[in-house]
Symmetry: C2
Subunit: 233 residues, 2 copies
DNA sequence: GACGTTGTGTTGTTCAACAACGCACCATCC
DNA sequence: GGATGGTGCGTTGTTGAACAACACAACGTC
């Protein structure tokens, strides 16, 4: 074998061994997003450190990572708490989604059919999950769809930002998931969005997405409001 | 005086004492953005801690904050370096700006004249700075203008994200600032954008902003490219 | 009931030490 | 000469303990 030159597809290779604190952050994050640590849960440093078997300083760094992603709320000398979104937060998050995804749809309107195939695969997965009645996988596919949409903007930074927004929204959804929703409706909605994009009807697609978000906003606001009342009492 | 009730405009009050690490992060950030710590500068923990007079752990937390904002780049056991943007980064940042500000202009089209007054004040400041020949203040006003624009989207999270993007762009600009630019042109450009918004010509305004960004992209890419060549050698 | 005090538990910060790692330097060997 | 492989040094990653600073609740006083 010859020497390794820059054409050997090793360009983008990045060996990033995760530091301990990052691994802890990942673990705690998934616990939060799975609802195993519901909003309002206090994250005390000493118990966490002991239960995982690492130092308190390392836990501190991990918690700070999550704080910067909005998943936990930090206040001086009071520690970290799994974020309990307010109604304001929900409005904020939906607005951010609206802005990003609307722009993304316009960008997707100029995409080639080949680039749109990514959406098709996700919709297929959504359909399969619906047939299986696997609500978790459906929600995952739902989010993948919108993430894929945003990726048409071609900015990794926007992608990352959108992911943090999605993570924050999951703070609400981990509770009220498998509620009274119709699986087939979810599939149809996304298929419609895909078709509108492929057909060049971007304005119509944006409007449709708007209704989709209006709906989500109503439900999430109810959840947040119930939390706030519960907290005021 | 009577007791303090919830009508006394103390609702939004938030006493946020900054932790030491946050203060350090702020200090280092301003040093970076002023160009006192040019891209590529290594941030070693021990010298930093000793020069400021605080512990190494506190410095670590501060540096991690900056890393998460993209101002410094962290790699395992290699420490932190003031980020040196690549051409890819520049393209990314401009795309993010384009997406956010385009959407913001559409949102601003529905704003009342009263809400648009904030833009006028910034333009006034821009004019004053131009008369004084104070380029730093002009750049500040320039950024304030675009930040105000994004704020029309009504999402604090988008505002914060936009601020980090601006901060990253300053990584380039701290070097090539007071170059060959015409102050009056900058003023006219922003006044034009304001007028187009106020006149309801959102599409025209977005197009104009696009040219503005195309221009910025060209110049920033040149800077980034020169750095990369310098680094490859 | 309003107000000050104390006590308890938590976080914020520091310090010292060691392990793990990157890197430049040098010796070695074809 | 150039590639290979060790060696030492400086830096970061992580730990553990200690103390200070603070929030909060419980108590006692007026």
């Amino acid at each position: 074998m010859g020497p390794v030159t820059s054409g050997d597809s090793l360009d983008g290779l990045e060996i990033r061994r995760a530091s301990t604190s990052d691994q802890v952050a990942d673990a705690v994050r998934t616990m939060i997003l799975r609802g195993q640590l519901p909003p309002g849960t206090q994250l005390r440093e000493v118990p966490l450190a002991e239960s995982i078997g690492i130092s308190r300083n390392t836990v501190r760094e991990a918690v700070r990572v999550l704080a910067r992603q909005g998943l936990v709320t930090h206040s001086m000398h009071r520690g970290a708490v799994v974020t309990r979104l307010t109604e304001h937060d929900v409005v904020d998050l939906i607005r951010a989604r609206r802005a990003l995804e609307s722009q993304a749809i316009e960008a997707a309107g100029a995409a080639t059919p080949d680039e749109l195939r990514g959406l098709d695969e996700i919709i297929l997965e959504l359909e399969r999950a619906a047939i299986d009645g696997d609500w978790d996988r459906m929600v995952d596919a739902d989010w993948s769809f919108h993430r894929r949409l945003v990726s048409f903007l071609g900015s990794p930074r926007l992608d990352r930002f959108f992911e943090t927004i999605q993570a924050e929204m999951r703070l609400c959804l981990s509770i009220l998931d498998r509620e009274d929703d119709d699986p087939d409706e979810l599939v149809d909605e996304h298929r419609e969005l895909r078709d509108l994009i492929a057909g060049g009807a971007t304005d119509r697609c944006i409007a449709r997405l708007g209704e989709h978000l209006d709906d989500a906003e109503i439900r999430l606001r109810l959840i947040a409001r119930s939390w706030e009342e519960q907290n005021t009492q």
